[in-house]
């Protein structure tokens, strides 16, 4: 799927300001951003639920209104409700019928989907009796029941307990294993970090960072090296690999060390006569990176776009 300069105004409010990105087939793509960043709007434009003010959106190479394309996608909305007077099985039967799943396959498809999300035992219960978490599980089953090639999941774990979140991650991995593309809208950073191949960070309706997790969080690291003693020579040796932030009697803290150069820094210190007690690289998490991106001035991260 791809978007080009996709823009959406709601009256005077800019929901999306020229979103440009692409997601190749078979990728789990994380779409991150703070509340109101435009994540859900982007999904709605891709699915034809809302009309773009300008720009282009394509899914499986087709426009959002293309019915053939829609047969090949699944969607779990963020704020949704199913007909509370239907049972879980009936909701899935409805969506099988709407998605054009062959009649002969519907029974198995429904059973498999309910089992996948752990609702097999409640399949005959009315949706109105379901907890929010169970409704979200049902929503996931609905999104997957027609075996879509592309799955849009908008905050799929927001109402789930830790077990449910783990289950969703497993589902995402199984989708990737069968070659499906997943567009994961989330602000659950740990979840994104665990399953996504690539990530886009959106803020105020535009992409402010885009890349693989390694590209986003695999940048220069900070390392704390514990020594028996610290001399000026050791500090000078460490400074060849980054900025020495701190040097006291027992440790040197170097920041901005290029990934992969930490062993070289340790070797240089040993060569200078230092006796190393510990080496502690401080990894950057996606959350650290996310916060640093969003707190940057508007034009400071253009290299990541």
């Amino acid at each position: 799927m791809y978007t080009n300069a996709l823009t959406k105004f709601y009256g005077p409010v800019t929901a999306l300001a020229g979103l440009t990105m692409s997601v190749p087939h078979g990728e789990i793509f994380g779409f991150l951003g703070p509340n109101g960043a435009g994540k859900t709007t982007a999904v709605k434009l891709l699915l034809g639920l809302a009309r773009a003010t300008s720009g282009v959106a394509r899914v499986l190479g087709a426009s959002p209104d293309n019915l053939d394309m829609r047969r090949r996608i699944g969607y779990l909305p963020e704020l949704f409700r199913y007909q509370d007077w239907l049972s879980a099985r009936e909701v899935l039967a409805l969506h099988c019928a709407l998605a054009g799943v062959a009649r002969a396959r519907r029974r198995d498809a429904i059973g498999d989907s309910l089992a996948l999300v752990g609702l097999a035992a409640r399949s005959g219960d009315r949706v109105g009796s379901f907890s929010k978490g169970m409704q979200q599980r049902l929503g996931l089953a609905v999104a997957l029941v027609a075996e879509p090639e592309v799955v849009f999941l908008d905050e799929p774990t927001s109402a789930l307990d830790p077990v449910g979140r783990h289950d969703v991650r497993e589902v995402l991995r199984s989708l990737k294993a069968r070659g499906a593309t997943v567009f994961l809208n989330s602000h659950m950073l740990s979840e994104v970090e665990q399953v996504c191949d690539r990530v886009a960070v959106v803020d105020r309706g535009r992409v402010v960072a885009l890349g693989t997790l390694a590209e986003l969080i695999g940048g220069p690291k900070r390392v704390r090296i514990g020594l028996e003693s610290v001399t000026a020579g050791f500090v000078a040796a460490a400074a060849r690999f980054g900025d020495v932030e701190q040097a006291d009697g027992s440790s040197i803290v170097v920041s901005g060390v290029v990934a992969g150069k930490i062993p070289d820094a340790v070797a240089a210190l040993i060569a200078a006569g230092a006796r190393i007690i510990s080496v502690a690289p401080e990894s950057q998490t996606l959350e650290d990176r996310f916060l640093s991106i969003l707190r940057k001035p508007d034009d400071a991260d253009s290299d990541l776009r």
Binding site: G48, L49, R71, Y75, G139
Partner: protein
């Protein structure tokens, strides 16, 4: 076919939410009560056969059937408006539409499917309850209205007009606003027919023109007029024609041109609804 799926879904919802059961119980009670009242009046007429002729009784029965049709038509209009008013709006507000519309369905399928489902239930209700009521009246009094099928068809058409109107409003406005506006417009259209009869008696061209415009804009009143005309026996029509101002009875049916206009009106309103719904962000 998605349109039939949505039609079935609309009907199933009315069944599951016990709307049909509640209306059926209430209607059955109403029919039983009116049947009892008709039988009492019939017994009274038989007991006073010296002063109340069969013709007098038939005239009284026909007027009571017409008054019942008034009540029935009004309840049906309110019902149709409040069935259709949330049909699209509540799906959009609740998030049901978010799950359905990304499927390979067109918005016109959802809208027309709902319309077909609600119209099927409404028309079925009109013919079933109307037929039972007429049968009960015939059983206890021997009286039957002259053209029951035509009368029920006109009542159904009036309800379909309101369904289309409320469904169109539902694509843009909240259910409560649409319901109130649709019922209010039904009232305006009905009173327009009454005012037209009064204006005709007083030869007031301006009021008649205004009433004609109203009946063109909201044709539910015209359909009511057709229903009443087909419930009037010739004897009652003859008496009505002698009375200079009689806003309750009708002396002529809607013209064929008006019927064509009404059908075109329903199509146009639904087309407008589809266009509005297509443009709506959900």
């Amino acid at each position: 076919m998605p349109i039939l799926i949505f039609a079935n879904l609309a009907i199933a919802e009315l069944v599951r939410r016990r709307v049909i059961a509640a209306v059926a119980v209430l209607t059955a009670a109403c029919i039983a009560l009116t049947g009892w009242a008709f039988s009492k009046l019939h017994q009274y007429a038989l007991a006073h056969a010296a002063t109340i002729t069969r013709g007098d009784e038939a005239m009284a029965n026909s007027m009571q059937v017409i008054l019942l049709a008034h009540m029935f038509g009004m309840v049906l209009a309110v019902g149709a408006a409040f069935l259709a008013a949330p049909a699209i709006a509540s799906d959009v507000e609740s998030g049901v539409a978010l799950a359905i519309l990304p499927r390979p369905v067109r918005r016109v399928d959802l809208l027309l499917g709902k319309f077909l489902g609600l119209a099927a239930v409404t028309i079925g209700f009109v013919f079933l309850t109307g037929g039972v009521e007429f049968a009960v009246v015939h059983a206890v009094t021997g009286y039957s209205p002259p053209h029951p099928i035509e009368a029920l068809s006109y009542i159904s058409a009036g309800a379909v007009v309101l369904l289309a109107l409320a469904l169109a409003g539902s694509t843009r406005f909240s259910p409560i606003a649409v319901g109130i506006v649709a019922v209010a417009l039904y009232g305006v259209s009905w009173i327009g027919q009454v005012a037209d009869a009064v204006a005709a008696a007083y030869h007031n061209g301006a009021i008649r023109t205004a009433c004609t415009i109203i009946s063109l804009l909201i044709p539910s009143g015209g359909m009511w007029r057709g229903a009443i005309y087909n419930l009037e026996p010739a004897m009652l029509a003859a008496v009505s024609a002698q009375v200079s101002v009689n806003p309750i009875t009708v002396t002529s049916p809607p013209t064929q041109a008006y019927l064509i206009w009404t059908a075109a009106w329903v199509v146009a309103v639904l087309a407008g609804a589809v266009a509005a719904f297509k443009r709506r962000d959900v």
